[in-house]
């Protein structure tokens, strides 16, 4: 697999076109809406998170940007949905995922995201070799981190 193909895996291109959680949901009782922006390339995201006690009830988002940033947001929603089950993922777990994700993406190819933990988002491992793109992949995750702090 060439560098480019490891960066743009099929799964990433799919998610960038069929975006999970795209379109902001109505705000719930305990929700936060966060706007994040990458001033360098102009990517932006508005992400809304609903919490229910110490669980992440739902996440929806809107935004524009490169395929990495779009796919990453979509994959994040998929991961929360799948791992969270009906009650939603515990906030603490989501926060841990985010920090592990950040660590892997900043590792310059040293740390691989495992599919077991990260689901489709594991396909973003390749981004860590492209330092200029790490911010694109982080955008939604940073927005969620901020949202959980506020909600």
């Amino acid at each position: 697999m060439s560098g480019l193909e490891s960066l743009y895996q099929e799964l990433i291109l799919d998610h960038s076109k069929n975006r999970r959680g795209f379109g902001l949901a109505e705000p719930g009782a305990h929700s936060a809406t966060v706007h994040q922006r990458n001033p360098i390339c102009g990517d932006e995201i508005t992400l809304r998170v609903d919490v229910d006690g110490d669980r992440v009830a739902s996440v929806s988002w809107e935004g524009a940007g490169c395929s990495i940033s779009q796919a990453s947001a979509s994959m994040l929603v998929a991961l929360l949905d799948e791992d969270g089950g009906d009650d939603g993922m515990p906030k603490a777990d989501a926060e841990e995922l985010i920090s592990k994700f950040r660590e892997a993406l900043r590792s310059r190819g040293q740390i691989t995201l495992d599919e077991e933990t990260f689901g489709d988002a594991a396909a973003l491992s390749g981004v860590s070799k492209y330092t200029a793109r790490v911010k694109c992949a982080m955008l939604a995750w940073v927005a969620l981190e901020e949202g959980l702090r506020q909600a």
């Binding site: 560098g3 490169c66 694109c136």
Partner: protein, 415 residues
């Protein structure tokens, strides 16, 4: 057969052009962001630093005398490159610093007040926009802009309406760093002159391509950056007419720009020193002189013809690719070999990444021209920009790569 321009000989001067990216030869099409440096420039700076380096305009020692001479010769050489006298050339750290100097000095001079107007264009680089916004905000002046037509040319009819008795400054780019179109300097100067407004030319993107004669251009002040004309980073020039420079107070202050200093008050030297506080970019000035000596020493007519051919090849090639939209696509104006474009359905960042995998280095983003992108309904675009060392084959490699973008990203044919 005569070779019109020996691009191979030119390329041989640039060590970096032999680089490979992922096993493919580097095709550097990002010269509008920063140009590469020929050996003559690297050598001149190093030789200065190894042989003559010392504080200029000071001290009696031999090194200082030699350094001072090289530094002032550099000023004369770079001034000559834009058709000017040495006393008219102020060293700055770059075009951005030059524009801030002008706007800031006008602010300190109290030259603008409420009701006055500053006119820029919709195609401005942020460097020639935000300093004027700030000046307007501080003085109560109003900032207005000349709109851009769909084809990227300036709306001169609107300009004639806008520029009036209240206009105090008209600032515009010689060549937009997104559109590549050469703006009609004479017409804009005539409009400004007719109302007594000061003209400020951003020559960043013309200096690497066109022969400049700033005094003849009619503008009052102009800026350019060294790193875009094959010279070093951290140096640029601000050119001004004698009487205009003379009328401006210093923007920043410090050593070497003064005559008498007491604890209470300082008196300042005439231009250019008035605008050059502190230790100057000495080795960079020497290197920039080497750059313009090298560049100016090329057959400029042949060089221009070479670049014009690259420009046509690039633009026509892009036009023929499905799903490409050009920013500033016009035959109605002179152009430099610089083209921004949008690939329908693929984000600029992804296009850039794909091109990089083919060895092609382009710029992606808003290129410090957010308002212009907004005007074309975009947040980002891809920009390819050639320099005198670019070959037709490199343009073809670029075009070939661009043709592959949409299928790689699985974007269907355009309806």
């Amino acid at each position: 057969m005569t070779l019109p321009f020996d691009v191979a000989a030119v390329r041989a001067e640039f060590p970096i052009l032999g680089t490979e990216v992922d096993g493919r030869p580097l095709v550097y099409l990002d010269s509008a962001a920063t140009s590469q440096k020929p050996r003559a420039v690297l050598d001149a700076e190093r030789e200065f630093l190894e042989r003559a380096n010392s504080a200029v305009h000071r001290g009696a020692h031999s090194l200082a005398a030699e350094a001072t001479e090289l530094f002032e010769d550099a000023r004369a050489t770079v001034a000559g490159f834009v058709g000017a006298e040495p006393e008219q050339l102020v060293w700055t750290s770059g075009a951005t610093a030059g524009l801030n100097l002008v706007a800031g000095s006008l602010g300190y001079a109290g030259s603008l007040r409420e009701g006055d107007e500053i006119v820029v264009t919709e195609a401005e680089h942020h460097a020639n926009l935000i300093p004027w916004q700030e000046l307007a905000a501080r003085t109560g002046a109003r900032l207005r802009h000349i709109p851009v037509h769909d084809d990227g040319t300036l709306d001169l009819a609107a300009a004639a309406e806008l520029i009036g008795a209240r206009t105090k400054v008209v600032a515009f780019p010689h060549v937009s760093n997104v559109l590549g179109i050469v703006n009609p300097v004479a017409e804009l100067v005539a409009l400004a002159k007719s109302v007594g407004a000061l003209t400020v030319l951003d020559a960043c993107q013309s200096a690497p391509h066109l022969r400049l004669d700033l005094p003849a251009s009619g503008v009052d002040l102009a800026v350019f950056s060294g790193h875009k004309i094959f010279g070093p980073y951290a140096i640029g020039g601000l050119w001004g007419r004698d009487e205009v420079l003379d009328s401006l107070p210093p923007f920043t202050t410090g050593g070497s720009m003064i005559t008498t200093v007491t604890l209470e008050k300082a008196e300042f030297l005439p231009p250019p020193q008035r605008f050059e506080p502190g230790t100057q970019p000495v080795s960079q000035a020497v290197a920039l002189a080497a750059a313009v000596r090298w560049f100016g020493g090329l057959d400029r007519d042949a060089a221009h013809a070479h670049e014009a051919a690259l420009e046509r090849r690039m633009r026509e090639g892009l036009r023929s690719i499905d799903g490409i939209r050009l920013l500033g696509d016009t035959d109605a104006a002179d152009r430099v070999a610089l083209q921004a474009f949008d690939v329908e359905g693929v984000h600029a960042h992804d296009v850039g990444q794909f091109l990089d995998s083919r060895g092609v280095a382009v710029r992606v983003g808003h290129h410090c021209a957010q308002p212009l992108h907004r005007r074309f309904g975009l947040t980002a675009s891809v920009r390819a920009s050639a320099a005198i060392h670019t070959t037709a084959e490199e343009i073809d490699t670029f075009l070939d790569a661009v043709s592959g973008v949409r299928s790689f990203f699985g974007v269907g044919a355009v309806a």
